[in-house]
């Protein structure tokens, strides 16, 4: 006896995939009727060859630009506000975000403030952004946070030292130019962290209580691709095909989680990032297995499917066995990509766990976790990850 399907929506930007699609930036900006953009990026990316290509492309199309590159890995609210004021002072009419999730999230924050006014922290929560943002074109350089296709923006509130989640359809970018060439210059650590982030997205979207048949397809496919190609990229960073596949994987994971939302891993990773400023991808990696342990019994079938997508042979196993197999596999997988830390080794203190748990409890990502968690539950999982 099947129950009636729940109502689900699916929203995505226009995205163009393929090598060198970053060079479509000028054309797309021009077609919006924009004569001046604010280019949001970070210091590292400014140096890359493929970044300079994009700037040349803008010049070709006669697009004027101002560059804002003071974005930190966990973007701060002050950076958002600074960028927003530069946006209006420079007379820019649109945003071009070039970089990883932090850059895209920061650009989204600036875009919100530019048409809604006030302070970025005012927009914490779901559907709090009333006015549409100016045209936002993204060129992601990681595989990845996929903020370039998502309805999320995560900003660090420097007063409370938490990461706030802003969730709104209005901040889904207009265009994403997904060019694998931009990922060629990622180092091993960044590749591993962002790859695990993508994996977490896929995991959480699949077991989310907001999942849909559409998001499920993308999530599972993403898991398959990541488990196959992430190790390849780690061992051979110049494997261009693997790089491409990872970008596709990240894209699909992004499409999935943007619409199905996330779960406990991200809720907890956000409070860690807010408080300790740890790299987001790494936080996810350190929690994904422990949260799986906690969640497993609430979505046994789905976790099984995940296992199968990762190429595990789970025939004839009972749920406890499957859970253990998955847990072990994840631990091994992490190590294989070069992630060998624990929360404890990063410097997380047991005394802080309570406050961290409280913050996580307020994170909207927790709403779609397959299993309800209270503050104590969260604390328990945190301590296991220490």
């Amino acid at each position: 006896m099947g129950k009636l399907p729940e109502i689900r929506k699916f929203l995505a930007p226009e995205f163009i995939t393929g090598p060198d699609v970053r060079l479509l930036a000028g054309q797309y900006i021009q077609n919006f009727g924009i004569n001046r953009v604010l280019v949001v990026t970070d210091e590292e990316i400014r140096k890359q060859f493929w970044f300079i290509d994009i700037i040349n492309n803008l010049n070709e199309y006669g697009v004027e630009y101002t560059i804002f590159s003071a974005v930190s890995p966990n973007p701060k609210d002050i950076e958002v506000m600074k960028g927003a004021s530069i946006y209006s002072e420079s007379g820019s009419r649109g945003f071009l975000a070039i970089g990883g999730g932090s850059v895209v999230d920061c650009a989204k924050g600036m875009a919100i403030v530019s048409t809604n006014g006030g302070h970025i922290n005012d927009y914490e929560g779901v559907d709090e952004v009333k006015n549409a943002i100016p045209p936002l074109i993204c060129i992601p350089s990681t595989a990845g946070t996929s903020a370039d296709v998502s309805q999320f923006s995560i900003i660090r509130d420097m007063n409370r030292l938490v990461k706030i989640a802003i969730i709104s359809k209005t901040i889904v970018p207009d265009v994403s130019l997904i060019d694998p060439v931009t990922s060629y210059t990622m180092n091993g650590y960044l590749t591993a962290c962002t790859g695990l982030d993508a994996l977490t997205h896929a995991f959480e979207a699949f077991v989310s209580n907001g999942s849909s048949p559409i998001t499920d397809n993308h999530a599972l496919h993403a898991i398959q691709l990541i488990h196959t190609y992430l190790p390849k990229v780690i061992s051979n960073p110049n494997d261009h095909d693997a790089r491409y596949q990872m970008m596709i994987a990240s894209l699909e994971a992004g499409l999935a989680f943007s619409n199905a939302s996330l779960g406990a891993v991200h809720a907890m990773a956000h409070s860690l990032g807010g408080y300790y400023d740890y790299a987001h991808g790494e936080c996810n990696a350190l929690l994904i297995d422990h949260v799986l342990n906690f969640n497993f019994d609430s979505e046994r079938d789905r976790y099984k499917k995940i296992g199968e997508a990762m190429g595990l042979d789970l025939r004839g196993m009972n749920s406890t066995q499957i859970r253990k197999k998955l847990f072990d596999y994840l631990q091994k997988f992490k190590l294989q990509q070069g992630i060998d830390n624990t929360l404890g080794s990063l410097g997380t203190k047991r005394d802080d766990l309570y406050i961290l748990s409280k913050f996580s409890y307020g994170d909207p990502c927790l709403l779609t976790n397959p299993r309800d968690m209270n503050v104590d539950d969260i604390k328990t999982v945190f301590s296991e990850a220490l």
Partner: protein
């Protein structure tokens, strides 16, 4: 050109370079830019701009200038309806204008709570999306109004100043006129009676000599006083001309007899040089002033000549008479030629010392000549000669004379003259002059008596009317008499500056001091 397959395929999968989903965006941005520019323009203008829905009064837009004007620190200015602005004052004004149809009435409107200002109001009604909207533009004219008020005040002040100046002028004129009368009356006495003495054949030569001295002194004094008075008059009021037709020959005869004693005294010859063909040339000009000019020139000529002769006369140039006075006197230096005409100026101090004089003569002569549309010029060689030439008035070449000197019928024993004169001295003088004519003379001491006497005595043939008299002036008396009698000759006699327009109604005007000759001429004219 046909798209090749590859290109078309590319477009089908949405990778064409014109594959745009929300293409309105570019247009939208342009429109927003335009709108912002217009808003900027309307916001930076100092005029107050307001747009509201005509029926409901709901405000669609108001610009910064309007907001700034009505804002105050106590209350936020944020009206949704025009009726909220200044408790409906603006709404009422506008609606009444719309209803009357005078959308652009020039009447200004006063607005403002904290600070009242005056505005020029212009209205326009337009249809938009099936509704009527009113566009209000108000221009602050407070400063202009202030300016206008200031100008108005200034004009008022000027007007008052002008009135005061005019009054002061009038006072001066009256003063001068009074002075003139006060002086002329005794002068009349001195000159009149001393001249009578001179013509009295019963005096011995010493007595005659003395009488002559009195007369000549009187003349000089009179001339000086006249100059002073004329001068005052010139510079306190404008010169008024009273034109007459003058027979030049007669005038020159008089001048000759007037000045030859003076010349003889200095042992210089006085010559009248007439180069005209006919003796009957008539000139139309102001007799008194013309005569005065001659007096000044002749007086000067004789004064500044120690030996030789003074020649005067008239010649014809371009069919107009040009007058001249030529003397063989001390002459004038070239540099001094222009300054001699300046008031109070004589050529130098030595002249002033040696020759006396006030320095006013030539100034007056020049002013009179110019008023008579004439010109003056002077030629001189120091130590040899000086010649003044001038023109004045208009030549009327006619033989019709307004004055005839023919006929010597001195007997008017059947005629009666009423003399209205408040000054006994003058009356006495008149009696003396007229004695030989056997006229019956009746004396009225004022205008009222004159009128009464006129009505009482029907035998009066002519009235000699003094102007300034107590109780009733000669003018009023004239009017009274003229009401019933427009034919009786009434001759005005006056010492005052005369405006002939006022004296119309009189047949003639005789100026005081009265010359016997002139008086007899006039009587002859009217007592036929």
């Amino acid at each position: 050109m046909e798209d090749n397959k590859d290109n078309l395929r590319k477009k089908v999968v949405g990778l064409g370079n014109q594959s745009i989903r929300k293409s309105y965006y570019a247009d939208l941005l342009n429109k927003v830019d335009e709108l912002n520019l217009f808003k900027l323009a309307i916001d930076q203008t100092l005029n107050l701009v307001l747009i509201f829905n005509r029926n409901s009064g709901k405000i669609e837009y108001y610009n910064k200038a309007l907001s700034d004007f009505f804002s105050n620190i106590l209350v936020d200015f944020n009206p949704e309806n025009i009726k909220e602005i200044q408790s409906g004052l603006l709404w009422n004004s506008i609606i009444s204008r719309l209803e009357s149809g005078y959308l652009n009435s020039l009447e200004p409107i006063v607005l403002g709570d904290k600070e009242s200002k005056t505005f020029d109001l212009s209205l326009n009604v337009l249809d938009y999306k099936k509704e009527e909207f009113v566009i209000v533009v108000m221009r602050d004219i407070s400063e202009r109004i202030e300016y206008e008020k200031k100008i108005e005040r200034q004009n008022q002040e000027l007007k008052v100043a002008k009135e005061k100046a005019e009054e002061s002028d009038k006072l001066k004129s009256t003063f001068i006129a009074n002075l003139s009368h006060e002086i002329r009356t005794p002068m009349n006495g001195i000159l009149g009676f001393s001249s009578l003495l001179l013509s009295d054949n019963n005096l011995n030569s010493l007595e005659k000599e003395q009488a002559k001295y009195v007369y000549e002194s009187g003349q000089r004094l009179f001339s000086l006083i006249n100059n002073l008075l004329e001068y005052s008059r010139i510079f306190s009021e404008s010169i008024i001309l009273h034109e007459e037709d003058i027979q030049l020959k007669l005038l020159f005869n008089d001048l000759y007899s007037e000045f030859s004693p003076l010349a003889k005294e200095k042992n210089i010859e006085l010559v009248f040089n007439n180069k005209l063909i006919s003796d009957e040339w008539i000139v139309r000009c102001d007799r008194a002033k013309f005569q005065h000019v001659w007096y000044i020139f002749l007086d000067n000529a004789i004064k500044f000549t120690d030996k030789g002769k003074v020649t005067f006369g008239y010649k014809l140039e371009n069919n107009q008479p040009v007058y001249f006075v030529h003397d063989t006197g001390i002459g004038i230096n070239n540099e001094d030629k222009s300054i001699i005409f300046e008031q109070f100026r004589q050529a130098n101090e030595t002249i002033a010392e040696r020759y006396g004089g006030t320095g006013l003569g030539l100034t007056i002569a020049k002013a009179f000549i110019e008023k008579m549309n004439g010109w003056i010029s002077v030629n001189s060689e120091p130590g040899v000669y000086t010649e003044f030439t001038f023109s004045a008035g208009e030549l009327i070449s006619t033989n019709n004379l307004t004055q005839t000197v023919t006929g010597t019928d001195k007997l008017w024993s059947d005629k009666t003259i009423l003399i209205a004169e408040d000054e006994p001295l003058i009356f006495l003088f008149l009696v003396n002059i007229l004695e030989e004519y056997n006229l019956k003379l009746i004396h009225a001491k004022n205008g009222k008596e004159a009128v009464d006497m006129y009505h009482k005595d029907t035998s009066i043939d002519l009235i000699l009317m003094d102007i300034k008299m107590p109780i009733m002036t000669g003018y009023d008396a004239l009017n009274e008499i003229r009401k019933s009698d427009t034919s009786i000759p009434i001759i005005a006699q006056s010492a005052y500056p005369v405006d002939l327009n006022i004296y119309s109604g009189f047949n003639e005007l005789i100026r005081k001091p009265i010359s016997k000759k002139e008086l007899i001429c006039v009587l002859k004219k009217y007592l036929v």
